[in-house]
C-alpha cells in the first residue's frame, strides 16, 4: 500500500512540476509574456520574415509597467502584434480587434455597383456571397465576396455551361474578398482544371522551435461534375486576402487561367488562437501554403497582368481591371 501511495503522489508531484502547469499571472507583464511565448512557439513565419523575437520582447516589455491601464497595455500588445505584418494575426480584448491591414493604406477602388451598372447584362443573379451575369454572349462574370458556399459556385458554373456553348470565358472576380474557408478555395480552383493536378502544398508547424515544420504535403485538385475548362480570368487586388490568395496561388500556373489586377494581400495560412491570462484572445498563423512551384503566397500572389484602378477617378464608372480581362 505504501508504495502504491508513493507512486500516486509522486506522479501528481512530477506532473505539477511541468513548465506548462504554471500559469502566467493576470498582470500587464504576465499578459505580455503569455502572448510573446504563444507567438514565439507557434507563429509560422518567424524565420521567413526575419523576426528577432528576443529583440521584440525586450523592446516591448520595456514599455510595460505594473500600473498601466488596460487600454495602454492593449496598445503596447497591439503594436507588438503588428510587427508580424500578418492579417491573420489579431488581438481581441472583447471590445475591439486589432489586426494588420494588408492593403497598407491603398485606397479601395473596387465598386461592384459600377460593374453592375456599366458592364453586366440584365441577366444578373444574386446569391448570398456571389453575383453572376454575362458581360456579352461569350463572357460570363462571377463576383465572389466570401469563400463560404461552394454549392452556389457549382450552380453558377453549371448555369454558364447551360446558357450557351458560346460562353468561352469566365471572369472570376475576387477583389475585396477577405477570404474564408481554404477548402472552398480548393473546390473552386478544381472547377477550372482537370482532377488530380498538383495545385500546391501545405506546411504545418509541428513543434515549438522556429524551424519545427512538417514535410510539405501535396494538395491536388478534386473531381467535379461541373468543370469549366475554357478560358478563365481571375481578378485580384490588395484586399484579396487569405482564401483569395489560396485560390490565386492554386490557379496561378494553370494554362487556361490568367490573373489580372493587383498583387493579392497574401495571408497564406490558417490561424490558431490563445486566451491570455486577462481573457483577451490572440491569434497567429500556424501553417502556410506553397504554390505548385513551391513559392510562398504570404506576401501575395503576383498577377500575370498588373493593372490597378487606383489612378481612376472613383466616379468615372470605369473598371480598368475588368476591361483588361474582357479584352484578353
Amino acid at each position: 500500500m505504501r508504495s502504491f501511495v508513493i507512486i500516486l503522489f509522486s506522479t501528481v508531484l512530477f506532473c505539477s512540476c511541468n513548465k506548462d502547469f504554471k500559469s502566467e499571472e493576470d498582470t500587464p507583464i504576465g499578459v505580455f509574456n503569455a502572448m510573446w511565448k504563444f507567438i514565439d512557439k507557434n507563429y509560422v513565419f518567424i524565420d521567413f520574415k526575419n523576426l528577432n523575437m528576443e529583440a521584440l520582447k525586450n523592446s516591448y516589455s520595456n514599455q510595460i509597467t505594473e500600473d498601466m491601464t488596460e487600454a495602454e497595455l492593449f496598445e503596447v500588445c497591439s503594436n507588438f502584434l503588428l510587427q508580424l505584418r500578418d492579417g491573420h494575426c489579431f488581438l481581441d480584448d472583447g471590445n475591439s480587434t486589432v489586426r494588420f491591414d494588408t492593403s497598407e493604406g491603398i485606397s479601395d477602388t473596387f465598386n461592384l455597383e459600377v460593374i453592375r451598372g456599366n458592364y453586366l447584362q440584365d441577366n444578373i443573379i444574386e446569391y448570398e456571397f456571389m453575383t453572376t451575369a454575362t458581360i456579352n454572349d461569350s463572357i460570363g462574370y462571377i463576383y465572389l465576396s466570401d469563400f463560404e458556399n461552394i454549392e452556389d459556385i457549382e450552380q453558377a458554373i453549371k448555369d454558364f455551361n447551360l446558357i450557351s456553348d458560346d460562353i468561352a470565358k469566365i471572369i472570376f472576380d475576387i477583389r475585396d474578398n477577405s477570404g474564408g474557408d481554404p477548402q472552398v478555395a480548393l473546390s473552386i480552383a478544381s472547377h477550372f482544371m482537370q482532377a488530380d493536378i498538383l495545385v500546391g502544398q501545405m506546411v504545418h508547424k509541428n513543434g515549438p522551435m522556429h524551424d519545427d515544420f512538417t514535410d510539405p504535403v501535396d494538395i491536388f485538385s478534386e473531381d467535379s461534375d461541373s468543370k469549366f475548362l475554357k478560358e478563365v480570368r481571375l481578378l485580384t487586388n490588395k484586399n484579396s486576402f487569405s482564401a483569395s490568395s489560396f485560390l490565386a496561388g492554386m490557379l496561378q500556373h494553370q494554362e487556361n487561367v490568367q490573373i489580372i489586377g493587383e498583387i493579392t494581400g497574401g495571408g497564406g495560412g490558417d490561424a490558431i488562437s490563445l486566451e491570455l491570462p486577462n481573457n483577451w484572445v490572440v491569434a497567429v498563423t500556424i501553417n502556410y501554403f506553397l504554390d505548385a512551384l513551391g513559392v510562398h503566397i504570404e506576401d501575395g500572389v503576383i498577377p500575370d497582368i498588373f493593372i490597378t484602378n487606383s489612378m481612376v477617378p472613383p466616379d468615372s464608372g470605369i473598371d480598368r481591371i475588368l476591361e483588361e480581362a474582357i479584352k484578353r
Binding site: M1, F4, I7, L8, T11, V12, F14, C15, N18, D20, F21, S23, E24, D26, A34, K37, F38, N42, V44, F90, D92, G94, D181, P182, Q183, L186, M202, H204, K205, N206, G207, P208, D212, T214, D215, V217, D218, I219, E222, D270, A271, I272, S273, L274, E275, L276, P277, N279, W280, V281, A283, I286, N287
Partner: protein, 259 residues
Amino acid sequence: MKHFLFGFLLSFFIGKSFAQNVSSFWIGFSPNFQSTKETRYTSNFRFGLAYVGTLGYSNYNEKRNIFVETEFASATLGAKNISSTRNLQAGLQFSYIFQRADRINFGPDLQVGSLLQFRNGVRSSNNSISYLIWNSLGITANKPFIIGSRPCNLIGSLPLISYVIRPSYSFPFTDRFLLQENYNLGLEDLRSNIVKGGKLRTLNSFVHLKLGIESYYFVKKNFGASIRYQFSYLSYLKQKSLFQFTHQLIFSFMLNNSK
C-alpha cells in the same frame, strides 16, 4: 467502486454468506467542479461546474470483484470569457479486483475515456476543437474500513500504459493526417485515421489518477444508496499539455441481487 466493501458489509447487514455471488447495479448523479488548462488554447486554468451521470455494475464474491462503471459529464468553462469552452467527458472503467481479507485489494484496470472540448466565439479554425482520448491499462486498489457504524471504502486507480489520441501541434486532427498519404482536406476516413493516429504513453506523459472515499446506506435488503467524494487528476504532458482537476460528489442509488 463499491465492490469489495459493499459485499463485505452486505454480508453483515443482510446476514448472507459472503461466499455468494452478489451483483449490484447503481445509477448516480453528481455535480463536478473542474479546473482545466488546455494549453492548446488557453494560458491559464479555466473553472466550471459540470453535471455528471454515472451507471455501474459489479459482481463480487470472496475471491474477486468485477466492476464496470461508465460516466458522462458536461460543463461550460469560461462562460463569461470572449471564447468559452464546452467540455464533454465520457469514460468507461472495467476493473478485476482480487479480494484479500484484511489487506488492500487490488487488480488490473481498463479504461476508455475522452475529453472533447468545443470552443465558442473563436475565429481561428485550427484550434476550435480539442480532444484527449485514451485507452488505458493500469491498476486499481481499494481499502474498506468503518467510521462509527458506517461502512466506507477508500478507492484509487491509475493507468500505467495508455494509447492516447491528441490533435497535432497545429492541426485539428492527429499527426497522422500530416503524412502525404493521409493528408486529405476532404477528411475522408476521418474516424479511422483519428483512431489510428494515437500514440502509446506511460506515466511520464499521461496520468489519470482517481482517488475517492465512499460511504453506504442501506434502506432495505436489496436497496441502498451511497455517497462518494472523488478527486481526479488528468494530465497529458507531450507538446501542448493538458491538465484537469475535478472534485466530484456522487450520489448513487443501488440495487443488489444475491445468488
